[in-house]
Amino acid sequence: MIEGIQLEFFLVLGTLVFFIGIYGFLTRKNLITMLMSAELILNAVNINFVAFNKYLYPENLEGQFFALFIIAIAATEVAVAVSIIISLYRKIKSIDVEKVNELKY
């Protein structure tokens, strides 16, 4: 807990980062940068969890554990995603998301 800083501050921060991440996800043209935006989103969630845990429910460490697991899963997700992106890159020689539109309609 940080003196003089209210919970809402953290939450607004988390929300902003979350939507910045979403904005990035929606606009970045590169698959890998999209993935990075997704990481932003996850991190925003972590901030939320940690803040809640600290400010409201410090008796248990639920928020912290959740954040831990999120980090772990984010890692696996990135691993798989990167491998798929690379395999795609090998096929179409591009990681521009707008060129990934063979499947449509």
Partner: protein, 640 residues
């Protein structure tokens, strides 16, 4: 009272004959069919005569009144406890009389046809249908209730259809049969609705209740009013519409002249003697109802009859097809019968019109059948229907000539032939009731004499045509019926009809009213003489007269363009005006609406395909904004 149960044999033997000939007809020698049919009608005739004899000789008589006897009645279809269609037999003076008429004429026609139809490919079919017709016609007259009448009415109609269309490979015959059926069917619609209304207000179909002068039906009749007339009147007018269809009253007469496309014996049987008088018969059957509870309807009938009669008589003067002349003459005579009914009252002497109508019906059946059979004989000989192609036939066909002359005299009302007696009674009845109708009937009498003798002279006198193969007298099987019917036309006038067939069953005395009879005969003679002057010798006079009449003649010759009006109504209005638009509407509007729903779905489906653009970020965008929309939506609901 005698039990008349044996009459049940009549319809059955005819029905069996129809089915047997119909099913097995093709497999046996044609003549066998003819003989079988004739035999069954012969049995019918014998039974009819026995019945008539025993009925009129007292078996039907109680206290001087001829009773309605129902020897047989069985439930056929039940609507409610009261509304029941029975199949039964009702004997009263008119039905017994009709039995005699039908069986006699039918037998004569059968015998005649044995010779006339020889060699026809549809020989068995013809006799089978004749049996069917006779069956239906007899069923019609002996019906115990109005619905039974309706059933046989329809059957009569269909057998008429079948017989008119006997030469079914001839388009004109097919068209004529179709026309006959549709027109009468249209009239029957009125009849049916009439029955429905009648049964609804009286609660019964049964004649014995409907026509009981003291019964509840007549008492209830005039209570409810609709558009100024009592409902009963409306119902009876509608029933009369059916009668008008069958009996070819104006304006539903158009089918009858065309019906002459059928074989001539059929015309004699159906379209002269029996079926066409069914309308008259039905009015007579319901007469107490008409007379006692809806006199307005009866008036209406009288005037329709008079108009039709005059109208047809005028047309008959101009026609050149001999069968058509006879057809219009038939229409005219039936109109006269209707007129007679229209001027009649119920009960005792006041029922003179009724009695005269029946009397005329009876006589007319005989001499008109005779006329047609003679005409058939002539056509058989010269192979043409056209008057112009005939002339001078008296030398070749003496029997036909004489019998035809007898029939002409009878129809013209020259004493002592039968027509004179019945026509006299009609004139008397009209004179007593309605002077206008009396005058009209006098004119008709004159016209009748004129056109009949025009026909007679044109066929048997006039010029001596050159015939390719010289005409010869018909074989005996055809000649015998002619002679029999001629004999009948001579004597039936002397039957004391007023004692036997009256509206209330009680007989009364009639005698010839010379004050009316003499002028009538004079007028008739005048007509005959005019015809003789114009047509006995070949002369240009008739042409000159027609030329001077100009468009009026054309108007009459074209039968007042009634056919064309009908054609306009059916072709232009029904076909092109209703049916074609309905069919168009169905395909284009209703159906396209249904198809349109499908098309719109497809259209939307094509339009929204860009949502699925393949762009991952668009997917994500839809997902996020969709979520936000759902949030807003839920917030909105939550705040409410």
């Amino acid at each position: 009272m005698e039990n008349f149960g044996y009459i049940v044999i009549v319809p059955f033997i005819l029905l069996i004959s129809f089915i047997l000939i119909g099913l097995a007809g093709g497999r046996f020698k044609p003549s066998l069919s003819g003989i079988a049919g004739t035999f069954s009608v012969f049995v019918t005739t014998v039974i009819s005569y026995i019945t008539a004899f025993s009925y009129f000789s007292g078996a039907g008589l109680v206290n001087g009144v001829y009773q309605k006897i129902i020897p047989y009645n069985t439930e056929w279809l039940r609507f409610t406890d009261k509304l029941v269609i029975n199949m039964g037999i009702l004997l009263d003076p008119i039905s017994v009389m009709m039995l005699v008429v039908i069986s006699t004429v039918s037998l004569m026609v059968h015998i005649y046809s044995l010779g006339y139809m020889k060699g026809d490919s549809g020989y068995s079919r013809y006799f089978s249908f004749l049996s069917l017709f006779t069956f239906s016609m007899i069923g019609l007259v002996i019906s115990t209730n109005i619905f039974e009448t309706y059933i046989f009415w329809e059957l009569v109609g269909v057998s008429s259809y079948l017989l008119i269309g006997h030469y079914y490979q001839k388009p004109s015959a097919v068209a004529a049969s179709k026309k006959a059926f549709v027109v009468t069917r249209f009239a029957d619609l009125g009849f049916l609705i009439g029955i429905l209304i009648l049964s609804n207000i009286t609660g019964t179909f049964d004649y014995s209740i409907l026509t009981d002068p003291n019964g509840p039906a007549i008492a209830q009749g005039s209570t409810i009013a609709f558009m100024g007339l009592s409902v009963m009147t409306w119902a009876l007018i509608l029933v009369f519409m059916g009668c008008a269809g069958k009996s070819a009253m104006f304006p539903l007469h158009i089918w009858l002249p065309d019906a002459m496309e059928g074989p001539t014996p059929v015309s004699a049987l159906i379209h002269a003697a029996t079926m066409v008088v069914a309308g008259v018969y039905l009015v007579a059957r319901l007469f107490p109802l008409y007379a006692l509870s809806a006199p307005a309807a009866l008036h209406f009938i009288g005037y329709v009859g008079a108009f039709t009669s005059l109208f047809a008589a005028i047309i008959a003067c101009t026609q050149t097809d001999i069968k058509r002349v006879l057809a219009f003459s038939t229409i005219s005579q039936i109109g006269l019968m209707m007129l007679a009914l229209g001027v009649s009252d119920y009960g005792g002497e006041k029922g003179l019109g009724y009695m005269s109508s029946m009397f005329h019906l009876f006589n007319h059946a005989m001499f008109k059948a005779l006329l047609f059979l003679c005409a058939g004989s002539v056509i058989h000989a010269v192979h043409s229907n056209e008057m112009n192609g005939m002339g001078g036939l008296r030398k070749f066909m003496p029997v036909t000539h004489i019998t035809f002359l007898v029939a002409c005299l009878a129809i013209a009302g020259i004493p002592p032939f039968s027509g004179f007696f019945s026509k006299d009674e009609i004139l008397v009845a009209a004179f007593e009731k309605d002077f206008v109708l009396f005058i009209v009937s006098m004119i008709i009498a004159g016209l009748t004499a004129f056109y009949m003798f025009r026909l007679y002279f044109s066929i048997f006198w006039n010029k001596n045509n050159e015939y390719k193969d010289s005409p010869h007298e018909s074989p005996s099987s055809m000649a015998v019926p002619l002679m029999f019917l001629a004999f009948a036309s001579l004597i039936t006038g002397f039957i004391p009809f007023s004692k036997l067939v009256t509206a209330d069953g009680a007989g009364f005395e009639t005698h010839i009213h010379w004050g009316i009879a003499v002028p009538a005969v004079v007028i008739a003679l005048a007509g005959i003489l005019t015809a003789m002057a114009l047509y006995k010798k070949e002369s240009g006079l008739p042409q000159r007269i027609t030329a001077s009449l100009g468009s009026l003649y054309r108007l009459i010759y074209k039968k007042f363009y009634i056919d064309e009006i009908y054609l306009f109504i059916t072709k232009k209005i029904i076909f092109n005006g209703i049916s074609a638009p309905v069919a168009w509407f169905d395909r284009k509007v209703v159906d396209n609406t249904m198809n349109g729903i499908a098309a719109v779905t497809n259209f939307i489906s094509v339009k929204i395909k860009s949502f699925q653009s393949g762009q991952l970020q668009q997917y994500a965008y839809v997902m996020v904004s969709g979520m936000i929309i759902i949030i807003l939506f839920a917030l909105y609901l939550w705040n409410k």
